[in-house]
Amino acid sequence: MFRMTGAQLVIQLLERQGIQVISGVPGGANLPLYDALSRSTIHHVLARHEQGAGFIAQGMARVTGKPAVCLATSGPGVTNILTAIADAKLDSVPVVCITGQVPSPLMGTDAFQEVDTYGMSIPITKHNFLVRSVEELLTVIPEAFRIAASGRPGPVLVDIPRDIQVAEVHFAEWPQPGEADPAPRAYDADLENAASMINAARRPLLWIGGGVVAAGAGSQILELAEKASMPMTMTLMGLGAVPRDHALSIGMLGMHAERYTNMAMEACDLILAAGVRFDDRATGKVQEFCPNAKIIHIDIDHSEIDKIRTASLGILGSINEVLEELLPRVQENTRTEWLEYISALRGAFPQHAPAEGGHDSPQRLIRRVGELVEDDTIICTDVGKHQMWTAQSYPFRHERQWLTSGGLGTMGFGLPAAIGASLAAPERRVICFSGDGSLQMNIQELATAAEQRANVTVVLLNNNCLGLVHQQQELFFKANYFSSEYQIAVDFIKIAEGFGWRTVDLAGSSDPDADLANAFAGRGPCLVHVPVDREEKVLPMVPPGAANRVMIEGEKHA
């Protein structure tokens, strides 16, 4: 017979799940959990804000692909962490968030620090639990991990009232740790059908989304692309699944694609859409998206198939397993005519993103960083122009190398997610490209990074404004720059130093390469400050709501 408190049970179940690091912030309603955690082998990372704790967990989960855990107390702790949970939902990241709740007898009385955590978390989690007895923890905790990791991953929230944390529980046997369920198997007939559609296509194309990264299917995608000569395009979330500089890669599609990429999409006659959800930023005006193409849609989530655009063939399954079975049925084909057409498009509409690094534009600087650091460096961003520049210009080479807030587009994601990434992969370098607006959204986590000695380099592209908003106002609101230009210039070098960070300032640098090398030479957190002109834009661009062929810029490139 085992005998312990609910809080001790939760912590021991987490240990049995293999959890080694947890991020969070303590408070009245989760103090019993923290007391138990203090006697655990698990390393606790004390964030400075619960949103930071949530994104730290996301950083760990995005790098490893395994569920990561974060903690918050009731009331304001919960409301603070929900943004990071909603972000995990939209990007399908497996996170288990455990929140303290006021004691069960007080629930519903507007008790101190009581909010309806269960009700508020329903639409932004994959699943949520309100634990109503201490015995339930024996099933709820493993279930939370099983659900977070199964099928299409996602966040699970477990709300535990304080009285249940301190209650005694007796049990005879430990439950098994929660594991991902096996994926459904695709039908042979569908695989045959898919193979013959590919074999018959003259201009087929692969469209790679975050689902490919989640399934770890990058190598199978590459094999298929090479065997059948299919050019590959990626969504924002699919970047890194295949090397950016691969001959068959045509880069990211959609709103901030290269023009030739969107033109290639227009011309294709078959799209193999793998782990994508037809997001409007990728498809543009969806009625005019690839009107001539048949679509084979492979996804682990049945509700994604036919959601936005009816597929000619939908295949429900895990992308790596489906491709394993599909590959032997697909014929080798050089498709010279199609590949020549793609090269001609590339020639006619040369790539806007730089092919080589440099220091005269933010895009070239991002590329330069990619040339200087190790291949396995983890790249994180915040949200804004700097995010799109990184997506367009960084030479990605590996799956799970790229962490960005795609679906929710949350400013403030970058720094804490980078800390989490570095906790999960301490031997690897983590770089976060951020903007001055975004960095200020979770700037308190500079302290967490310093305390953890996280090997994180923040490259701050500082234009002293909300850059992407500024650009939209210029292009679509007659340059009425309202509330997007900051009236004071914050001294980020001083701030970072105040938090105990090393700093490197590229402002007025006579040898930026040497300064960058200097930044990357040491371990531990380092801020690289890069002044950027407000007028530097993200181009080319499809205006919101327009079809992907309607692009601003990208016709010619000097």
Binding site: Y118, G119, I122, P123, N128, D301, H302, S303, D306
Partner: protein, 96 residues
Amino acid sequence: MPKSIPRTVLDVTVANHPGVMSHVCGLFSRRAFNVEAILCLPVNGGEVSRIWLLVNEDDRLEQMIRQMRKLQDVHDVRVCNENTAVFDQLSTVMAQ
């Protein structure tokens, strides 16, 4: 009840606990998809409940069903056209 719009009934089997109704109804409200009528009864000694939702036949129905099947507490979803009659009978009682 006005008969102009074709209606159908979704027969949903769910785990019986206090949060289930919110999970199911939330899927409809966030898509601005109106549920015309609801019936819910515990079955099998209260372990599970059956919810009948009277809804308009709409292009989005298939998507709604797939979304509902993703909910952990939903065991089964079926479309049962015949069951609309039960709601017709109820309306004679409730619409008085």
